[in-house]
Symmetry: C2
Subunit: 193 residues, 2 copies
Amino acid sequence: MKSKEIKDAALKYFTIHGYEGASLSQIAEEAGVKKQSIYAHFKGKDDLFLQVLRDAKETELSSKLQYFNHVGSQNPKEDLYGYLRLAIDLFQKNEHLKFWLRMSFFPPAHLAKEIEKEVIDIIEKEQRILESIFQTWLDAKVIADNLAKTLTYAFLGVVDSIMLELVYGNDEKRLKEKLEASWTVFWRGISLQ
Amino acid sequence: MKSKEIKDAALKYFTIHGYEGASLSQIAEEAGVKKQSIYAHFKGKDDLFLQVLRDAKETELSSKLQYFNHVGSQNPKEDLYGYLRLAIDLFQKNEHLKFWLRMSFFPPAHLAKEIEKEVIDIIEKEQRILESIFQTWLDAKVIADNLAKTLTYAFLGVVDSIMLELVYGNDEKRLKEKLEASWTVFWRGISLQ
DNA sequence: GTCTATAGCGAGATAGAC
DNA sequence: GTCTATCTCGCTATAGAC
């Protein structure tokens, strides 16, 4: 059963070279099979790609859901900061998140519609979790009295900026400094005075 | 002289499909020439790509430099917010910025080193401008007394998050809301209390 | 399910007439 | 500088033996 090896290799090369730039022969070689054997497991390149995409989505989503189920939302500051660290961890530990980001931003044109559906689904789920968390804190007057949506968007902006720095990915020191800077200003910006 | 038409078409297809996904025959058709004619103007696909890259860099850099030469740095709040609006404008008016972002994040592997040099150059220039502006304001005690670098990184984080929302690019309303949220929290976070 | 063999296509690139 | 014609290569995908 070489199915997992093929998907792992596909994830790697789709991430590095994009859909069009990755070839089935590269993927097969990395997986230790002949390229024609791929067709015993997948209908074709599109099918392989979409299965890898769904795995990546599943991995990302479950990691994030697990995080918020685990933390008790008792310490807002620590929990939110921990979420940023989690995102950095996920990115650096396995390739799923980098693959996911690449395909979210620049999907292969002929699969754009299908990919967009998955992307919107995950974005909405993340947003809803954060909104409910911010709402809880608003009710408890822990942070500045404002709309949960504004806080969510501002925080998602911090998440995005960290993601982007990870994608650039050539400077650990700069990543750390940008994280600290964004986080410091964000927390100051939402705190009660 | 079809050179400009070829570069315009190349910019378009490199942006939509990436380096590997864009074909010279598509580009030639869009430019109104046969694909073999491209070789009268460019040594090959790499050469065409790198010339388009340098044009895009030039366009982006000069727009941003011009902005900060134009505004007098008398009104920090308005000037910084204007910079965010400028980035949105640049992105929506022409394709250079989207092309630039795609190639910054996910360069074709065999040209990654050359592209990275250009990317770092532009990032450092933008950063230096912002740092000097924040320093001027720090000296004038207009904003919270802190290091110019922290403020610059936090602001660049806001810029990045807006860029990323533009790249996703399917929701004008969401873009506006994220801009307002990030900007509101950022400004509150750096203001004197 | 994995292999060998091969089809069919489109890619980037070159040669040479005009 | 633009064209027609052509080369070579690597790609996705299929057929059929084991």
